[in-house]
């Protein structure tokens, strides 16, 4: 991003005000209408997590749907008043009062469910990636565009208050100009699902099947790539990838460790690593700028200023954390107010999971008829990049992404 001096002054003033004026996080999103009727399709881990956030937000979960009986039972325990269904069409035909549906199923099942929900006239929150193929992703984006209802892709960075605050600095002299990008997602996990029978195991382990999986780049990377898309306003033009089964040598073909380089049009590069073999460092994204670097870790974020960067004044209120030789300024909305109350402490982060803010934004869009922060277009493009990155790993080579590839139709 090229930014001139005039932009600095205008955007800088906005950002400084932003630190002080962002709403208090403890009262964030209390404007959701109580008892707003919703349903969830897919009650695995993600569906249950969505249910918990909906309950915190005061929405009324009218129905749950899953074709896996143990998962449906587990979901039903958590949402006691909800009716349970093992068939989505039956649920949509029966539960006429439902305004919005959360699609939290395996990725390759999204397209049919999006079509069914649109036909039933529902607002849709669809987990990301939107699909496991470009064809399905285009079909979903096209169907969403043709609907009068809200469609939100489950990419959470754009709703995350810490990321929003960081992005407000990205556009100022505090960051100045993008130098490079790096991200990782490290977790020690087999990626297999607990199942009582071989048939159930095969069905639940869809992320390990070549025909249905978008691999680590698609299932994890899509969410993190979108951080960089959103900050820079750009999408990669080329992706180099490689990967291997380094740890879980159980017959799987889908790599458990991947390395990617996503190149952008002016030489910017995002280095990405994901693994199921080691948890060190967890999940985060780093943006290096001329005047500072941001490290963003979903519930927490930090700014690392260069020694020659100008002091902007607000740093006096900032909480700091030491990382070996570097000192990070905690990125937290309401910093000035919290500081005045002596509530800024080491490790201060968001009071809720990122999912809370994404679900909250979606419900607000549904109730107020506003466009969502992360619509079908953003979801489609991030999905396409994730699929391309997975292809680069599978083929062990380079995938080019043209502007035409990013067009929905």
């Amino acid at each position: 991003m090229e930014t001139d001096r005039r932009d600095f002054l205008i955007q800088g003033a906005g950002a400084l005000a932003g630190v002080a004026l962002l709403p208090g996080l403890d009262t964030f999103a209390r404007t959701i209408q109580d008892d707003y009727p919703v349903a969830i399709i897919g009650t695995g881990r993600q569906g249950r997590a969505v249910a918990a956030e909906l309950q915190k937000l005061g929405a009324r979960i009218v129905a749950l749907c899953d074709n896996d009986a143990p998962r449906l039972r587990s979901g039903g325990r958590r949402v006691k008043d909800a009716k349970t269904y093992d068939d989505a069409d039956k649920m949509l035909a029966t539960e006429k009062s439902v305004e919005a549906v959360f699609i939290c199923t395996p990725t390759h099942q999204h397209r049919a469910l999006v079509d069914a929900c649109i036909a039933a006239g529902k607002h849709i929150y669809c987990e990301a990636p939107l699909a496991h193929t470009v064809e399905d992703a285009k079909a979903i984006a096209s169907a969403a565009r043709g609907s009068s209802k809200v469609f939100q892709a489950g990419l959470l960075a754009r709703s995350n208050p810490v990321y929003s605050l960081a992005r407000s600095f990205y556009r100022t002299e505090a960051f100045l100009k993008l130098v490079s990008m790096r991200a990782q997602n490290s977790r020690k996990d087999s990626w297999r699902q607990a199942a009582s029978t071989a048939e159930r195991q095969a069905r639940l382990d869809w992320r390990l099947h070549e025909a249905t999986s978008t691999g680590l780049p698609g299932e994890w990377g899509t969410h993190q790539f979108d951080v960089f898309h959103w900050f820079s306003g750009k999408y990669p033009v080329r992706i180099h990838g490689n990967g291997a089964v380094r740890v879980w040598d159980d017959g799987r073909k889908v790599a458990d460790t991947v390395n990617l380089a996503l190149e952008f049009d002016q030489g910017e590069c995002l280095e990405y690593q994901a693994t199921l073999g080691n948890s060190f460092g967890g999940r985060y994204e780093v943006l290096h700028g001329v005047n500072s670097a941001f490290k963003l870790a979903w519930s927490h974020g930090w700014m690392f200023k260069e020694a020659d960067a100008a002091t902007q004044g607000w740093e006096v209120y900032a909480n700091r954390q030491r990382f070996f030789n570097d000192e990070g300024i905690t990125l937290i909305a309401d910093a000035t107010q919290l500081a005045s109350q002596n509530k800024l402490k080491d490790g201060v982060g968001l009071p809720h999971d990122s999912l809370y803010y994404g679900v909250s934004d979606f419900l607000t869009s549904c109730q107020e008829g506003k466009a969502p922060k992360t619509g079908a277009s953003e979801g489609f493009r991030a999905t396409l990049v994730g699929i391309a990155a997975h292809r680069a790993v599978v083929e062990g080579g380079t995938i080019e992404i043209s502007p035409d590839d990013l067009k929905e139709a």
């Binding site: 997590a49 249910a51 918990a52 325990r77 958590r78 607990a194």
Partner: protein, 314 residues
């Protein structure tokens, strides 16, 4: 033969060993069970400022919408509070924080130094539990909930359900060596055998749970309060074990028995018929002059699982 996994959560260490199925199935089952425990930590740990519990404790009289499991746990706490005649009470967080400031969910614990010991201030009657609205409201502004006497057991029960749903035929789960659940028996044995703390007494567990409670923990001496008086239970009071179908219930009732043993006036409650219990006959360690409430698992020729020593802080 055995797959095992561990997790640091709720200020202690959870561990699961499982057997009787293909290794990949066991591994996946253990991962999902530990994930369930991790989510419980996010909800109910008093040590984490961002936990659901810490948010409730900061709410200063405002209603807080909670998730379904938190509502289920607090509703059950209400029943247990009544059944134990108040010997079990999660409304003692403000008092527990005096001994262990980290339990307050933030470092600035000075505000708790003068917490009220007025018995009317403690008790779940001071908590509004609105099941219809999934909402919790603390009716006394400085009151703080602490689920330390039950959250480990509840999390262990949820993790056990995950393993059962996944068809795991044999498993041993524990949190901090003091809250235990079992599925089936270990291969080649008739039951999981657990040795009580500093004792030769061995209990057998098969599809059962066990909890032990003692008045002296490993952190800052006494760690149990009599909720009816607000006073600390004397470290020399007798501890108890309880064997039950549910680890959460075993947690609750072992706490209630220990509180009763340390109370100057007997607390009148009836133990449920479907559980058995007994005192911990603990000798004082000559090295540390402290008791410990850790159980250990009896080794077998067929398996060699031994829980690792860990701090029990919840």
């Amino acid at each position: 033969m055995f797959e095992r996994g561990a997790l640091a959560a709720m200020g202690t260490r959870f561990e699961i060993v499982a057997a009787g199925a293909p290794a990949s199935q066991l591994r996946a089952s253990i991962e999902e069970a530990l994930e369930e425990i991790s989510l419980c930590h996010q909800r109910w740990s008093p040590f984490s400022p961002s936990s659901m519990l810490s948010q409730i404790n900061r709410s200063q009289g405002e209603g807080v919408a909670v998730d379904g499991l938190t509502m289920e746990l607090l509703s059950q706490c209400q029943r247990w509070h009544g059944d134990t005649a108040g010997a079990f009470d999660p409304c003692v967080g403000h008092l527990l924080s005096e001994r262990d400031p980290r339990r307050s969910g933030h470092e600035d614990s000075g505000i708790l130094k003068n917490a009220s010991r007025d018995s009317t201030f403690i008790g779940l009657a001071n908590v509004e539990i609105n099941v219809a609205k999934n909402s919790i409201r603390l009716l006394q502004p400085d009151l703080q909930l602490d689920l330390g006497a039950v959250a480990k057991g509840f999390a262990i029960d949820l993790a056990t359900d995950v393993l059962r749903d996944a068809g795991v035929p044999s498993a041993f789960l524990h949190g901090g060596n003091s809250s235990i659940s079992t599925i089936g028996q270990p291969p080649g044995a008739s039951a999981w055998k657990v040795q009580l703390p500093q004792s030769s007494e061995v209990l057998e567990l098969r599809d059962q749970s066990l909890a032990v409670s003692a008045s002296k923990g490993q952190y800052a001496g006494e760690h149990l309060l009599n909720p009816l008086t607000g006073e600390w239970i004397d470290a020399e009071s007798e501890g108890y074990w309880v064997r039950s179908k549910s680890a959460a219930e075993a947690d609750v009732w072992s706490t209630a028995l220990t509180v009763n043993s340390g109370s100057s006036e007997s607390i009148k409650f009836s133990m449920p018929d479907d559980m058995d219990w007994g005192p911990l006959r603990m000798a004082t360690s000559s090295n540390t002059n402290e008791k410990t409430s850790k159980v250990s698992v009896v080794k077998s020729d067929h398996w060699s699982f031994l829980p690792t020593e860990s701090e029990d802080k919840i």
